[in-house]
């Protein structure tokens, strides 16, 4: 972005998007701050709840500080339909969904592209830790953020080229301490605000309770071992994810882990940690950032946001891909995203079947 552009900045009220705005402002761009109101948190959750009025106020204060307009736009309906409803369905089907991927793809960035057009803005900036680079062939490549610890490219693999063309990630080359430092230097009012939660609409982490509150209670059932022996009962399948050790309530007899969830019978199968390791996975609904690779290739695959990535052979299939890891991986979890990298570049991703 060499010349002055009108840029829409997506502002959550957190430090990252505030600093992203401040950096673009310093560079002289014509900015419009927009905060999406996606969800009304339940009243009793006072800490870290998403889309709270305080967050909107923080976003507004930052915009006032920068002297740019700020607007709150209501996208609760789209968020419920595209993010919350599928999230509930996935959990009830025994999977562990990754709602941030669909939120970015279907709600935030798609909607913001429409909003940007209506503001006559050519670009959309976000506070994501990720980078974009133009390939010699013309397409954009999506790259990891420089800060290994904060990198958010994992959540962005689903974005089409047309969306990437409009995006700007001002924090992609910075580390978190550098971002806070820039925030302080530029006088961003919330530069020292604590980190927000990874799953914004379940700030207390109690997914089962959340699902129950959505009016479609999670199914209670038996906890069994791989041979079918009943070891106990549970309050609902949505309380469990593969590899989980806590909250089983089984008492003695050694540490056991959730191996899988059988939604039809509401059974949670538990066993030894050694039984959690697999070498293969199948991913569906794949999206390839710069086009579908024709042949099998070797890459690094991340199976959850906090996974470092592991070497694997990746074979594109119809609308998905097969992964065979060099080393067995712990707790490959259905519903999570498998994202394929080559070095820093996101080649594509899909959802673990």
């Amino acid at each position: 972005m060499s010349q002055v552009k009108r840029v829409l900045v997506a502002m959550s009220g957190g430090v990252d998007s505030s600093v992203a705005a401040a950096l673009l402002h310093e560079a002289g761009h014509d900015l419009i701050g927009v905060t999406l109101h996606l969800w009304d948190a339940d009243g009793e959750q006072q800490v870290g709840r998403c889309c709270a009025p305080e967050d909107r106020d923080d976003a507004r204060r930052t915009c006032e500080h920068l002297g740019i307009p700020h607007y709150v736009l209501d996208e609760r309906e789209a968020f419920r339909k595209n993010v919350i409803d599928p999230f509930v369905t996935e959990y009830q089907a025994g999977r562990t969904p990754i709602p941030c991927v669909s939120c970015n793809r279907t709600v935030k960035l798609t909607y913001l592209a429409d909003v940007a057009r209506r503001f006559d803005a050519t670009h959309i900036a976000t506070g994501h830790y990720a980078r974009l680079e133009r390939a010699p062939e013309g397409q954009l490549r999506l790259l990891r953020g420089r800060d290994d610890d904060k990198d958010q490219s994992y959540f962005l693999f689903g974005l089409p080229q047309s969306t990437l063309e409009t995006l700007v990630f001002p924090l992609g080359d910075l580390t978190k301490p550098e971002v806070r430092e820039a925030g302080r230097r530029l006088g961003v009012p919330n530069a020292d605000k604590p980190e927000s939660m990874e799953l914004c609409f379940v700030p207390d982490g109690r997914v089962g309770d959340f699902i129950n509150r959505q009016g479609s209670p999670t199914t209670a059932g038996k906890i069994i071992d791989p041979d079918g022996t009943v070891l106990g009962r549970h309050e609902g399948v949505a309380n469990f994810t593969r590899g989980q050790r806590r909250g089983l309530g089984l008492g003695g007899g050694g540490t056991r882990y959730v191996l899988r969830i059988v939604p039809d019978t509401a059974e949670v199968v538990v066993g030894d940690e050694s039984q959690l390791y697999d070498r293969q996975l199948t991913a569906t609904d794949a999206h390839w950032v710069a086009g579908r690779p024709t042949d099998a290739f070797q890459g690094e695959v991340r199976i959850r946001y906090r996974h470092r990535g592991a070497l694997a052979d990746v074979t594109p299939t119809g609308n998905g891909f097969e992964v065979r890891f060099d080393e067995p991986q712990r707790a490959i979890t259905p519903g999570q995203a498998a994202v394929v990298y080559r070095g820093d570049e996101v080649i594509g991703g899909g959802f673990i079947a």
């Binding site: 419009i32 905060t35 109101h37 009025p53 909107r56 106020d57 507004r60 307009p69 700020h70 607007y71 709150v72 736009l73 209501d74 909003v115 057009r117 209506r118 503001f119 006559d120």
Partner: protein, 369 residues
Amino acid sequence: MIYLDHHAAAPPPEAVRHAMQEAAAVAWANPSSTHAAGRASRQLLEAAREEVASSIGASAADVVLTGGGTEACNLGVRGLAAGRIRVVTSQVEHPAVAQSVRRLRTEGRDVIALRVVEGRPPTPEELAPHLAPDTLVAIQWINHETGTVFPIHEYVQVCREHQARLFVDATQALGKVPVDVGALGADAVAVAAQKIGGPAGAGACWVRRGLELEPVLDGGSQERGRRPGTPDTLSMVGFGAACRLTRERLAHQPRVTELRDRIESKLLRLGGVLNGGNPRTGTVSNLSFRDWKGPLLVAALDVEGLCLSTGAACSSGLQEPSAVIRAMYPDEQWRAGSAVRISLGMETTEQDIETASHAFQRVLARGDA
């Protein structure tokens, strides 16, 4: 910047700003104090009360000064409700009235909210069957979002025939139609300074002499026991100065109406759908645009230098679809979320309307894709 949000707040004319600046050195004192400083403040306060009273054809003794329009409406509705077991209202009231009525309902009164379908206010014949000596009617004169004019004089007649009490929310009427409470014959009438170029923290509730008006706040016996709390002399000076300009404001109405018609016909050609029909005040045009959500259109126009609003209530920067438009068009729910309100005032110029029309044209074109 072009300001087309006069129904939200009208800009203070020079005379109002000047009067408040002049008064600031004196108006700080407590007008209830008997010493010289207090008396000076009291003098300004009473002069302002005279101005307010004369602008609505009232006697100063019957004017209760309040901290704004909402408080004036609360006082009128709840103050008159004593001894009434039924409240008749409309479905499109301002929250200042609607929420007061709601409170009366939770306290056990029967509430009837008359429909205002497609902006047609209830006729006196529709009102009459609900009236009895135990009834309070709480209704607006001019709707804040669409400008719909209610037949208040006819309501007065039927209320009188049935010995029902009548509270009139005239906050949007003052300065747009002649308001003469002496001739009108209602029991209480609320007005607000903010809608005629005065400060937001000043309002008034006129009450017919001899009627008890129960206060809604707890405190001292100011305003003859009807409104506790130290009166804000400085704001009232602004209110009084704004009231002095009421006649001038009314004289601008034909010109303002012509400008409103001009931008409205342009926007209708650009795909706008008019909310609320006639009769309505010439200061406002409320339109829905199918391809837009109201708050987004308002934001995009703001970036182009145009100040207007959706007209609906806003909390923490988040705008809900308009309850007024929803009530007027129950079978066309899209209208409420897509509505914007353009409201003009005596400061609006032909050039403003020209520039605003072009801004609309540019912005609306981005909606078709």
